[in-house]
Amino acid sequence: MRPLVATLVTAALLFLFFVPMLTDLVGRPSLLALACRILIYAMAAASLNFVLGYGGMISFGHAAFFGVGAYTVGILYAHFASGELLFGFIPGSNQMLITLPAAVLVSGVFAAAIGALSLRTGGVQFIMITLAFAQMLFFFFVALKAYGGEDGIIIRRTNELAGLNMRDRVTLYYVILGFAVLFFLGLWRMVNSSFGAVLRGIQQNERRMAALGFAPYRYKLYAFILSGMGAGFAGALMANFLRYASPDMMHWTKSGELMIMVILGGVGSFFGPIFGAAAFMILETFLAGWTEHWQLLLGAVLLVIVLATKGGINGLLARIFRRGA
């Protein structure tokens, strides 16, 4: 199994490297934008999967962290453009190496606050309280007239990075791909770390873990913060890619879509969110191009997948390979 995974990952990376040439080859350059979105959503979904799949916490408000990450980039850009200091002492920035860490930090702070409160509950209450906090943030940004209110912030130019020409679509794609590779390498380390083992233990049997001396609350909160940071990172890249940040990014249906990606790919599997994000975005693009009523079909597909399959796409692949091996 192990060498097989390594081979597949190498093949996938090669494929991703040649995506810009392939899209040019088939004469559909718009597919490159789709690939960018898939990579970004894969990171957001993988972040959600970290708490949902590995930690057993069903967060229905993860779009909030995605949005906070995007807004961090947007607000820093707005202050960079206007030259005014944020809160009177923070200068704006258009440097990706500043805005991305800032987005991760800010979304981490939000995740810490929301997680610390939400994790005092469990079950359906946890689902609903995470949703509630996300809604609060959504309405907060809608009301935030200084940063565009409902319309959000326009980012006139993508952040700068190491002198690259970020207006070039292909360059931007490789930048996003590079960040995605780093992201998933980091995630791989976390999942296989001491902390990752504890987190999976808590997901399997919280009572047992407490009886071993682990305080579940602290570990879950830590996972929640890391996950929020990951989602914020993805959101920051999305703001750079779309060149805007808007409240829509943290609408509750976006949280639902992230959950759909996770379950499409397979809950608690490492590569699942990538498949899930790809499947969702391709399905959406394909169906939307085919019929105006694509949500009907999406709903039907989703319903069938939830009711009829176990383990999503990743589970399906695992079963196929196991049968083949």
Binding site: M128, F140, L296
Partner: protein, 304 residues
């Protein structure tokens, strides 16, 4: 003073509306353990079906049974085809499957009725207003909604506390295993509860038609507020749904009515309005977070 009284009544009217939806939702969750995001779809189906019949026949009252029947039948179909398969699943599957139902119903309604809101008129007998207090005229239709909501609350109280079905419902909300162990036809009980919930949702949707737009997505707007009511009231508790529904309905309405005005005292008008509405929209979520932090299982949590 008059203004406050009027907004209180508006809040009460919104509150009973929330209660009509929350009553079904809280029972469905309490008894079957299913998170049903598609409850808002039943509200929408009731509104569309009733309004359509009312427009065809020209009679508000002809639309009422149509709304109830359509919502109940839809509820029955959903329960049989989808929800029934979710009883044994975890919350995640439930959230996603019913989320899928929302997408499906929204598109079905769009295909059938288009994206434009459908407008409907008040029944003739309730199109005026009465002067409740000197200087406080109030639309009779809104009073009708309040009366209907209170009547349903009373009816549910009797149903739950005085009948055999009610006994099973109470037992089910407290201890699901026990009802199973009693040898009751649990399938039938589930279907009845789901049907009842759907009926109330359809009623709420139809009643809401004349005072708010009948449009695709109307279900989700109120669904989230309804979930807040259910969670604040305590999952499985009709009493909790009633108390929390009224309280949150009033709180939400008052915030929306008065907060922008209060903020205008300290900042310029357009910013005050935006901020006021923003904070008011956050209000019920904020209250929910507050309640859950003090009582993680809600105000009137039923059983263990």
């Amino acid at each position: 003073m008059i203004l406050i009284a009027e907004q209180l009544l508006n809040g009460l009217q919104y509150g009973v509306m929330l209660f009509l939806l929350a009553a079904g939702l809280t029972l469905i969750f309490g008894i079957m353990g299913v998170i049903n995001l598609a409850h808002g779809a039943l509200y929408m189906v009731g509104a569309y079906a009733g309004t359509w019949v009312a427009l065809q026949t020209g009679s508000f009252w002809a639309g009422l049974p149509a709304a109830l029947i359509a919502a109940a039948v839809t509820g029955f179909v959903i329960e049989t085809l989808v929800i029934r398969r979710l009883y044994a699943r975890d919350h995640l599957d439930q959230v996603l499957a019913t989320f899928a139902l929302i997408l499906i119903f929204n598109e079905l309604i769009t295909i059938g009725f288009g994206r434009q809101p459908v407008f409907t008129s008040l029944p003739a007998a309730f199109s005026g207003s009465v002067e409740l207090l000197p200087g406080l005229p109030y639309p009779t239709y809104r009073l009708l909604i309040i009366a209907t909501g209170l009547a349903v609350a009373g009816g549910l109280y009797i149903l739950i506390n005085r009948t055999r079905i009610g006994m099973l419902v109470r037992a089910g909300a407290t201890n699901r295993e026990m009802v199973r162990a009693l040898g009751v036809d649990i399938r039938l009980l589930y279907t009845i509860v789901f049907g009842l919930g759907a009926l109330l949702a359809g009623l709420a949707g139809y009643m809401a038609g004349p005072i708010s737009a009948v449009q695709v997505g109307m279900g989700e707007q109120i669904l989230l507020a309804t979930f807040v009511v259910v969670v604040v009231g305590g999952v499985g508790s009709i009493k909790g749904a009633f108390v929390a529904g009224i309280a949150l309905g009033v709180a939400d309405t008052m915030l929306r009515a008065f907060l922008p005005g209060m903020l205008r005292q300290v900042m310029n008008a357009s910013e005050a309005d935006a901020l006021g509405i923003g904070i008011a929209s956050m209000g019920i979520y904020f209250l929910m977070a507050l309640v859950l932090l003090v009582r993680p299982r809600g105000l009137f949590a039923a059983g263990g």
